[in-house]
């Protein structure tokens, strides 16, 4: 789960990391009031969960409170990479001397958290990593020991932070480490961390991504989820514990298991079609869950055909068939369907669907072929 900049910085502040004075606004008048409080010269920043806001014109400087109001009105009407700007963060403008990058993420190959820092902050860190990896200093942290003070000091020394700032830099690094641990983050990033003209270290921008699997033990963080940024179908899917991702194609997919769902999408593509979604109903799904999945797939107006591929292990094919029949009675769709059932109780499942006007297939290959033909024929 991604957090907005304003949410991330509020968490950082709780861990003693200095952030600019400022607040979030949902309309232009509010933005003006905040700017007045802050003394006029402010930065107005779009809050959308996508990178490259600055380049897209989503971050603007305002010299007066009036200007902040005008700029906020413009930003709040904008769409950045398909996402509507619903909030702006109004921050006191800083006089920047130096920009630093500081981030913590999980290094899956090393199986440890890694702290990354660079004196070349402010811009896209992935770009620096590609073009001049030597400019990024990395320290792996033993998850059983936690961050040691010497490691933070090493970072400060290696990215040439002037000595008079070491103490505050180490405190910020320690704060970021604890923020990462205690929110179960997979990414906690300050970019840029700046040294200001009046000799202070401040986290100007912040970004956090939280491990979805850990939200059960982080209720305060879970409540920060911005559902405005998800499609209605994605919100509905989450409610039913379904993994669903909407894509661009016309063939809706319902599969049990993530790997098999991907393989099914690949097969559609291989046959010249395009999948409309990724959907994993999970292991041991009952009729209710299947019915919900079915409604979600059909709520996508792009869908011209549905492919159901179930390999019964723990999931029983007859249970899935019952769910499909249940959903069909209340959705009443005319979209054609191809069903392929294999494994546990496949025969019983097929019998249940016999009278349901569905196209059946023996293999995954055949199922995808038939689904693609349906779309092409339509």
């Amino acid at each position: 789960m991604k957090l907005h900049e304003y949410q991330s910085k509020a968490i950082f502040a709780n861990y003693g990391i200095p952030i600019p004075r400022g607040r979030v606004a949902e309309n232009a008048a509010e933005a003006r009031a905040i700017a007045e409080e802050l003394g006029g010269r402010v930065v107005v920043k779009s809050q959308v969960l996508v990178g490259g806001r600055g380049k897209a014109g989503g971050i603007r400087l305002a010299k007066t409170a009036e200007e902040a109001e005008t700029v906020a009105a413009q930003l709040l009407g904008m769409t950045i990479k398909g996402l509507a700007v619903r909030r702006v963060l109004v921050d006191e403008a800083a006089n920047i001397e130096t920009e630093i990058y500081l981030g913590i993420t999980n290094d899956r190959a090393a199986r440890k958290p890694v702290i990354m820092a660079s004196a070349a902050g402010g811009v896209d860190i992935e770009e620096i990593a590609r073009q001049s990896p030597e400019k990024i200093f990395k320290v792996h942290v033993d998850p059983l020991l936690g961050l040691r003070e010497y490691q933070a000091r090493d970072i400060a020394a290696c990215i040439d932070i002037p000595r008079e700032y070491w103490k505050s830099f180490i405190a910020i690094t320690r704060g970021l480490w604890w923020a990462y641990c205690e929110t179960d983050a997979t990414l906690a990033e300050i970019n840029p961390l700046v040294i200001t003209a009046n000799h202070q270290l401040i986290a100007l921008d912040g970004k956090m991504v939280i491990d979805d699997n850990a939200l059960f033990r982080r209720p305060a963080i879970a409540s920060l989820r911005d559902v405005d940024e998800d499609t209605e179908a994605e919100v509905e899917a989450r409610k039913h514990g379904l993994a669903y991702i909407q894509l661009e194609g016309q063939i809706g997919c319902m599969v049990n298991g993530a790997g098999l769902a991907m393989a099914t999408m690949d097969m559609i593509k291989l046959q010249g079609g395009e999948p409309a979604n990724f959907l994993d109903i999970g292991g041991g799904a009952g009729a209710d869950k299947v019915a919900a999945a079915f409604r979600i797939i059909l709520s996508d107006p792009k869908v011209r055909a549905v492919l159901i591929n179930i390999f019964g292990g723990i999931t029983r094919c007859d249970e899935v068939a019952r769910g499909i029949l249940m959903a069909m009675t209340d959705v009443k769709s005319t979209i054609p369907m191809v069903v392929r059932l294999a494994g546990t109780n496949a025969e019983e499942g097929r019998n249940l669907l016999r009278n349901a006007q569905m196209i059946t297939a023996e293999t995954l290959f055949e199922a995808a072929q038939k689904a693609v033909a349906l779309v092409e024929g339509a």
């Binding site: 999980n106 899956r108 190959a109 199986r111 440890k112 958290p113 992935e126 990593a129 033993d142 998850p143 059983l144 641990c181 179960d184 997979t186 491990d211 979805d212 699997n213 850990a214 059960f216 033990r217 993994a243 991702i245 894509l247 599969v255 049990n256 298991g257 993530a258 790997g259 098999l260 769902a261 991907m262 393989a263 999408m265 690949d266 097969m267 559609i268 593509k269 291989l270 999948p275 990724f278 994993d280 292991g283 041991g284 390999f311 019964g312 292990g313 723990i314 294999a342 494994g343 546990t344 293999t363 995954l364 290959f365």
Partner: protein, 288 residues
Amino acid sequence: MSILVNQNTRLLVQGITGKEGLFHTQQMVQYGTNVVAGVTPGKGGDWVLDGKIPVFDSTKIAVEYTGANASVIFVPAQYTADAIFEAADAGIPLIVCITEGVPVQDMMKVRNYLDQKQVRLVGPNCPGLLTPGECKVGIIPGNIAIHGEIGVVSRSGTLTYEVLYALREAGLGASTCVGIGGDPINGTSFLDVLEMFEDDPRTKRVVLIGEIGGTDEEKAADFIATRMTKPVVAFIAGQSAPPGKRMGHAGAIIEGGAGTAAEKVNALKLAGVRVANHPEEIPGLLHH
């Protein structure tokens, strides 16, 4: 011969009295697995499956009484890390973790702890192990695979079943099937399993089922190119997956342009692996 599990496996089930734990214990016993004990804290002294399997309060006591030498974990995600630590501290050399949804920071602690001990963890978020005709540890449906000489290793669950089924339909059997799981941090990698298959006299050929995310398949390709003598056939799921979207598994995501299916397919092909375009093509490539 086989790898990891066989008729000498004395299995302990952690979370044996839960719905999933009990159901799959029954399935494993039916398959012929020697399940010697179960653990559910607070239910020590109970018996399950008509008094056949004793339940203990702790893994340590269960091992002392029954000599269990492998454990399978079905406890909910919030207790999983603790269950793995408990099994490792009880001296169990093989731990198979079925549970899905374990927080990644928990898994980093687990992995770094286990690396200091002589313990093999398989999973989490995996279907477990199956040595057809001998032993099943986990949830792979026993009836979809027959005994044979093909080693199967996979990051996925049902996709593995699909492949085992396709092999069986083609008259091909498995020596051992290992589900390593779909999480970014797990106990056993492709590389670990390929080494075991290479050393296992019964295994003659290997099927590797990978997916997008991480670089585990690339490391496997490296090993295949330099050390492996047995032929390998592979399939990589997620060719059609867009970057930045997590495809169900916590580990299946293309990040910063890395971990794409195309890169993995390419690395495997360069290592001399025959890569299938879809799972049903695998038996044909093995016959070649």
